[in-house]
Each structure stands twice: as structure tokens, then as C-alpha cells.
């Protein structure tokens, strides 16, 4: 025989458990509704923060191994890093599009960062002590392009395809930021031996090597 006070206690606990369950379910529904409402209010396209300008892209073509110049209108920021990311993003978006002349998956999100350093002299035995303020503002620059690991991992393997990707990035940077004379690459912030087994990513590339075909 169960004492009456224990029956009463059991009933209260059961009722409390049911109430807590209902409350939790209700809170979860409210959170879900808030999340859906937040998604609905997100912009479907990125706001244009800068006026559209003409950007020159060096677009690779696998069928004849060429780099062809294309001029596109893009919103470009005055900040060199953001400007570089925008033009490279557009270039890689073209490569990720269906029927691309140089198919490479990944798109514009594959460029994590582009930052700039004073370009060291080619063949200099040792770097200069420190470039002057004027040199830093007007002298040639070394662009460091930081790509995502997934871009490198999914890049098609081959000498031609990898070389064209590297050269088109170098040439596009130089065409839009003429002070960029040298380019180096990082993948997820780290040096990497090759892009996808062939093109050397440990060396400094000269932008002049990426001249477009006439």
C-alpha cells in the first residue's frame, strides 16, 4: 500500500515534468520562428559598397593554354586589399561557372585574403634594411594571396591547368593594381609545395610572366 503523501508527491512531480516539457517545446518553436524570420530579412545579394568600375581580368583558356583579357564592370573598393579580393573573386567565379574555359571549382570565396608588402629586389643578396615611407607608398609591391585549402584540394591536377590558374591570378592582380610586380601564395595561411601536385607555390612569381596573349 503506497502512502497517500507519496501518491500526492508523485502526481505533483509528473505534472511538473509535463509542464516543463510543454514549456521547452514552446521555447524551441519560438527560437525556430525567430531564426526563420532572421533568414528572411537577410539580403539576397551583397550591397554595393562602392561604385562600379572597369576591372581587367586575365581569363585562362585550357583548350589553347592562353590568357585572354576581359573587361568587366565591378563595384571596387578604394582599399587595395578589398579591391584585389573583388577582382580575384570575379575571376574565380568565372572559372566556377558552367562551361568555363578553365573549369576550377571553388569560386570567389576561395580567396581568403590579399595583402601587400614592399617588393624585394630580384636577385638581391639580402633585403634592404627597411624601405622608406615614400618607397612603401609608391614603390613596387609583393602581393600575398591566401587561398582556401578546399580550393587547392579540389583544383584539377595538371601542369597546364595549374600554371594557368597561377598566371591568371598574377596577371589579373597586376592589371588592376599596377604596383604589384611580384606575387606569392599561401593556402590556409601556410606555405604549400604545389597547387595540386605540379605548379610550385613556394616561389615568388613575377607579374610580368603573366602577359596576356595578343
Amino acid at each position: 500500500m503506497i502512502p497517500r503523501h507519496q501518491q500526492l508527491l508523485f502526481g505533483i512531480l509528473l505534472l511538473t515534468s509535463l509542464l516543463m516539457g510543454v514549456t521547452l517545446w514552446h521555447l524551441r518553436e519560438r527560437a525556430h520562428q525567430r531564426m526563420i524570420a532572421g533568414q528572411d530579412s537577410a539580403p539576397t545579394s551583397a550591397p554595393e559598397v562602392a561604385p562600379a568600375e572597369e576591372a581587367t581580368l586575365l581569363v585562362a583558356n585550357d583548350s589553347d593554354g592562353s590568357l585572354l583579357t576581359q573587361v568587366r564592370s565591378l563595384p571596387l573598393s578604394a582599399d587595395p586589399g578589398a579591391r584585389a579580393r573583388a577582382v580575384l573573386g570575379k575571376l574565380l567565379d568565372l572559372y566556377a561557372a558552367p562551361n568555363a574555359t578553365h573549369p576550377v571549382p571553388g569560386g570567389g570565396a576561395s580567396v581568403l585574403q590579399v595583402f601587400f608588402l614592399p617588393a624585394p629586389e630580384i636577385g638581391a643578396a639580402k633585403p634592404h634594411a627597411s624601405p622608406s615611407q615614400e618607397q612603401q607608398q609608391t614603390g613596387p609591391q609583393l602581393a600575398v594571396v591566401n587561398l582556401t585549402g578546399s580550393f587547392a584540394a579540389n583544383h584539377p591536377s595538371g601542369i597546364e591547368t595549374e600554371t594557368l590558374t597561377v598566371l591568371s591570378i598574377c596577371g589579373t592582380l597586376h592589371a588592376n593594381l599596377p604596383r604589384v610586380t611580384q606575387v606569392r601564395f599561401l593556402v590556409d595561411g601556410q606555405p604549400r609545395a604545389t597547387l595540386a601536385g605540379h605548379a610550385d607555390l613556394t616561389r615568388t612569381y613575377l607579374a610580368a610572366d603573366a602577359a596576356p596573349h595578343p
Binding site: D64, P156, I159, T163, A196
Partner: protein, 236 residues
């Protein structure tokens, strides 16, 4: 000193017995040895490094090894000495490949690759800036003293492949093993042949296609040997 005594002895003998005796006693002058002509075949990738994934799950490392074996046989049959960087599915780092090539003092180094991207045969020489040869060259840019010769070899290969009716793409690139080779070096990348509709007309694993590429490469290397003979061996 020994040479002087020997010469003196011949002269003395000649002086005693006259010119005909000298002609009979002197050893026949050895014929000039034919110039040594060595070709290095570097089958790219291997072992853990599979290279690219080609159609029908074929790996780049398998196709490059097959092409290397085929070329080695064809070249050896024509009396050309061949050094290969690998004969089986083993992992080789780029430095080891360049080391094998540099030890062989070859007149031509061919790095064999394959890719699904592009069309026909792609020929690539190093993108290093040509430089004057020096006694001790930096390892990573050893090819810079040979770039001019590598571009000449690329031209000979291009002519032979075009003559065989293949589409060829020429270019310059930066490959770690190629840049460290101290010999005329060209990377040969074989891709499927595309038709006029830009669709694949001949697959990479087509034995006839591989045979045509190999024959054209052999013809080019025979031509290069003739040129090298005229130019008196290798030089940067």
C-alpha cells in the same frame, strides 16, 4: 715524364729503323669515341603521390610509368642510353629526381605527365630567367643556366609532334623537379585529344594515341641527338 721517355723511345726507334718501322711499332691511333648521348626519363609522381585522377579511375602515376617504359624501349632500340628516375610504383621527391638527372649528365631530360585538362600534348620549359652557367649553382634554380637549351629542345619536340599531326601547347612553368635539373629539360604533359566540337576525340588510355606520342618523342630525340652531335655535346 713517363710520356716523354716513351716518345723519346719511339723517336729513337724511328731514327734507327726509319719511318716504316715507326709506323709499324706505333699503336694504331684509337678512333674517337662516339659522343655519349644520354636521355633521362622522369615518370612523374609514384607511390603515395598519385598525381591527377584520369578517366576510368586511372592514375597519372600509372600512365607516366607506362609511357616511360615504352619510351625507354624505343630509345634503347635505337642505341640511345636511357636513365629512368623510377621503374616501379615508388615515391620519389623532386630533389631525388633532379639528383638522378644531374648525376647522369644527360643531353635531354624529359619529365612525363598526364592530365585530363586541355587538349593534345603540352610542352613546358622552366620559367626561370636564363642565366650564365656558374660552377656552383643554387639547387632550386640550377635549370636557369640550361633554359636556352631547354627551349631549343622544346622546339624540336614541338616540330616532331606537329609533324605527327598532334595539337601542341607550348608554355613555361615552375615545376620543383624541373627547376633543379642541370640539363636541357622539358615537361611533356599528355592530355586527351579534343575534336573540333571541343569534345574528347581520343582518350588518354588509347594505346594508339600513346604509341603516336611516343613515336613522335623518339623522332624528336633522334633529331636532338643529331643536333647535339653537331654542337659537340652538352653545354649551357
Amino acid at each position: 715524364m713517363r710520356w716523354s721517355n716513351w716518345s723519346l723511345a719511339i723517336l729513337v726507334a724511328g731514327g734507327v729503323a726509319g719511318q716504316p718501322a715507326l709506323a709499324q711499332q706505333a699503336p694504331p691511333a684509337p678512333a674517337a669515341p662516339p659522343p655519349r648521348f644520354v636521355v633521362v626519363l622522369d615518370a612523374a609522381h609514384g607511390g603515395n603521390d598519385t598525381g591527377g585522377h584520369l578517366n576510368d579511375n586511372q592514375l597519372e602515376k600509372t600512365l607516366t610509368l607506362a609511357m616511360s617504359v615504352r619510351l625507354r624501349s624505343l630509345l634503347a632500340a635505337r642505341g640511345i642510353q636511357v636513365v629512368t628516375t623510377r621503374e616501379s610504383d615508388v615515391t620519389l621527391d623532386p630533389n631525388k629526381r633532379a639528383e638522378i638527372a644531374n648525376r647522369s649528365e644527360a643531353q635531354a631530360c624529359i619529365s612525363l605527365h598526364a592530365s585530363e585538362a586541355g587538349s593534345g600534348v603540352h610542352l613546358y620549359a622552366s620559367s626561370l630567367t636564363p642565366a650564365q652557367p656558374v660552377r656552383f649553382a643554387p639547387w632550386k634554380t640550377a635549370q636557369s643556366a640550361w633554359v636556352t637549351r631547354s627551349l631549343a629542345l622544346e622546339g624540336v619536340l614541338n616540330s616532331a609532334l606537329l609533324q605527327a599531326g598532334m595539337s601542341v601547347t607550348l608554355g613555361r612553368t615552375s615545376l620543383p623537379s624541373l627547376d633543379s635539373m642541370a640539363c636541357p629539360a622539358v615537361a611533356v604533359e599528355i592530355a586527351p585529344e579534343l575534336g573540333s566540337d571541343k569534345k574528347v576525340a581520343t582518350e588518354l588510355d588509347d594505346p594508339d594515341y600513346q604509341a603516336r606520342v611516343a613515336s613522335a618523342l623518339v623522332a624528336a630525340l633522334l633529331e636532338w641527338r643529331t643536333d647535339a652531335g653537331r654542337a659537340e655535346g652538352h653545354q649551357p
